[in-house]
């Protein structure tokens, strides 16, 4: 497979603290790669290293199949990025901000209006950025990252500070980029739901380590929710369910039905009622990202 980004044993230590350790990131061409992890997991540190803003303690980075150390300039010509909070020059207008960058990346002037249009910031183009809301700054940052029409777009928490309609807009924009512009996108987030709605490939990082990297479908298998039942005489009820040949777990008096279809859940409830148990509550287990992390790390240790 052709990888646009590939890291080998990438590590970054700050003194004793290992911000990133032994990271093997593989981003295939044309994918939207969701880089997922809680705050402080090492996402931004990794992205900074990918852009050469920070030097790795050890390991290797290949982008477009070229070594970042040797070919940094040629690689960055084909990369657009938005790192952490949006970067801007407060004393300049939105257009002037883009113009300062355009002089360096050398695109035609028309491109400034195009990218402003893409992020719907045309109306505010001549206003000073210091008066912008966080959402507008974020849009400007995304516009800036698109300025050189990159082949690889790296967006660190791009929907930060956007309102719900803005999030949807940006999400649709990002989703359209691979097919319309042939871009490969790396997008980081600490929100599973956000990655779930955009990404085609997912890498999950925690405490600087990649604990999962695969297609979004593979991750959904992990993330599947189970249904919890609170019933009278839970121990007996659980045995009854097992007796009916259903998969069920018992934890603290709560019966859980992992990965069940609607019909199966209905059947289980019906069975319990028929057997004379009182069903107090049927609820879906809300599994946070943390829970999935915990599950994944547990499985990693077990394996």
């Amino acid at each position: 497979m052709e990888y646009i980004v590939r890291t080998e044993n990438l590590s970054k230590h700050f003194g004793q603290e290992k911000a990133v350790s032994g990271l093997e990131m593989k981003i295939p061409k044309g994918e939207i790669y969701g880089f997922l992890g809680p705050n402080g997991a090492g996402k931004t540190t990794t992205i900074r290293m990918l852009l050469g803003l920070m030097k790795p303690t050890s390991g290797r980075i290949e982008i477009f199949q070229n070594d970042l150390k040797k070919e940094r300039l040629n690689i960055l010509k084909r990369v657009g990025s938005l790192v952490e909070s949006p970067s801007y020059y407060p004393h300049l207008t939105a257009k002037e901000n883009l113009e300062a960058m355009r002089k360096i990346v050398g695109m035609p002037k028309q491109r400034i209006n195009e990218v402003l249009e893409i992020v719907r910031l045309t109306a505010a183009g001549d206003k000073k950025v210091k008066g912008f809301s966080l959402g507008m700054k974020q849009r400007l940052g995304i516009a800036a990252s698109l300025l050189n029409n990159p082949e690889l777009l790296i967006l660190d928490e791009p929907t930060n500070g956007l309102d719900p309609s803005g999030i949807i807009e940006i999400r649709n924009l990002i989703k359209s980029l691979p097919s319309e512009c042939g871009m490969t996108v790396l997008i980081s987030s600490h929100l599973l739901s956000e990655i779930d709605q955009m990404a085609t490939t997912v890498g999950i990082v925690t405490k600087g380590k990649m604990i999962f990297q695969d297609s979004i479908e593979a991750m959904r298998m992990f993330a599947q929710q189970s249904v919890l039942l609170k019933v009278s005489e839970s121990d007996k009820a659980w045995r009854a369910l097992l007796g009916r040949g259903m998969k069920a777990g018992l934890d603290n008096g709560i019966i859980s039905l992992p990965q069940q279809s609607d019909e199966n859940v209905a059947e289980a409830v019906r069975g319990l009622v028929e057997d004379g148990f009182s069903v107090y509550r049927v609820e879906e287990e809300k599994r946070s990202l943390e829970d999935i992390f915990l599950q994944m790390t547990r499985e990693e240790q077990a394996g």
Binding site: R48, L51, G52, L53, M54, K55, R72, L73, N74, L76, K77, V79, S81, V83, E84, S85, P86, S87, Y88, Y89, P90, H91, L92, E96, E99, A100, M101, K103, I104, V105, G106, A144
Partner: protein, 243 residues
């Protein structure tokens, strides 16, 4: 390199730099107008007299201090809201960004020197000096002061890249500039003290056969040496700086 410089110039042009550029020459102008040059009338060219009066506040204090203000200024908007990381994630090398900022400050210092030249002429005209304008010597002074600022600019750029705050580089600058008042009166220290060089190079001495008002050896070893030291220090710091 040229594209980076153009971008830097663009960012600077849109900020309120002009007041800072004019402050020094105006201080000089004030000193020149207030100077009592009458006593020298007939004994020496009155232009020298006025130049000496004007140089005192300008070359001893203002010129060294302004290098720091300018360096902070061209780095301030990078520090403010993540400008460094956006700039350095573009296809640029850090060496060229550092060089572009350095050249930009040198250009600004040159502008200030030229404004100062205008201030000299202005003060002289105001006083109605009849003596012939010593053009060659004044030029030596203007260009000499500019060259003497090279190492100071390099050190201040280093400090400004390093510290996010305006105050820290300025404090460093003041701490080194104030002793130059003492240093320039000392024959031992004066010629070697970088912050005393602007005054030395702007002070219109009698003809000494050199192009500038200090000996070549001093120009090359002290100004050139400290320039290399400070520039390379800042350059290597910037190369390794994590943004």
């Amino acid at each position: 390199m040229l594209t980076i410089l153009k971008s830097e110039w663009f960012k600077l042009r849109k900020s309120n730099i002009i007041g800072i550029l004019l402050a020094g020459p105006l201080i000089g102008l004030g000193a020149g107008i207030g100077a009592d040059t009458a006593e020298a009338a007939g004994m020496m060219n009155e232009w020298y007299m006025i130049l000496i009066y004007m140089n005192l506040p300008y070359a001893v204090l203002f010129l060294p201090l302004i290098t720091g203000v300018l360096a902070s200024f061209v780095c301030r908007y990078e520090h403010q809201a993540g400008g460094w990381k956006q700039l350095l994630a573009l296809p640029v090398t850090r060496g060229k960004v550092f060089a572009a900022k350095y050249v930009l400050i040198l250009l600004l210092v040159l502008f200030i020197q030229l404004f100062y030249l205008a201030a000299i002429a202005g003060a002289g005209l105001y006083k109605g000096i009849a003596d012939p304008f010593p053009a060659a010597i004044v030029w030596k002074s203007i260009l000499g002061g500019w060259i003497a600022a090279f190492p100071l600019v390099a050190l201040q750029l280093w400090m400004s890249v390093w510290f996010k705050s305006f105050a820290a580089p300025f404090a460093v600058n003041v701490v080194f500039t104030l002793p130059s008042i003492l240093a320039m009166n000392s024959e031992k220290v004066g010629p070697y003290y970088p912050w005393a060089q602007p005054f030395a190079m702007m002070y219109p001495a009698t003809e000494n056969g050199d192009i500038f008002f200090i000996p070549w050896e001093q120009l090359i070893t002290v100004i050139g040496g400290f320039f290399l030291l400070f520039y390379l220090g800042g350059y290597f710091y910037f190369q390794r700086k994590a943004v």
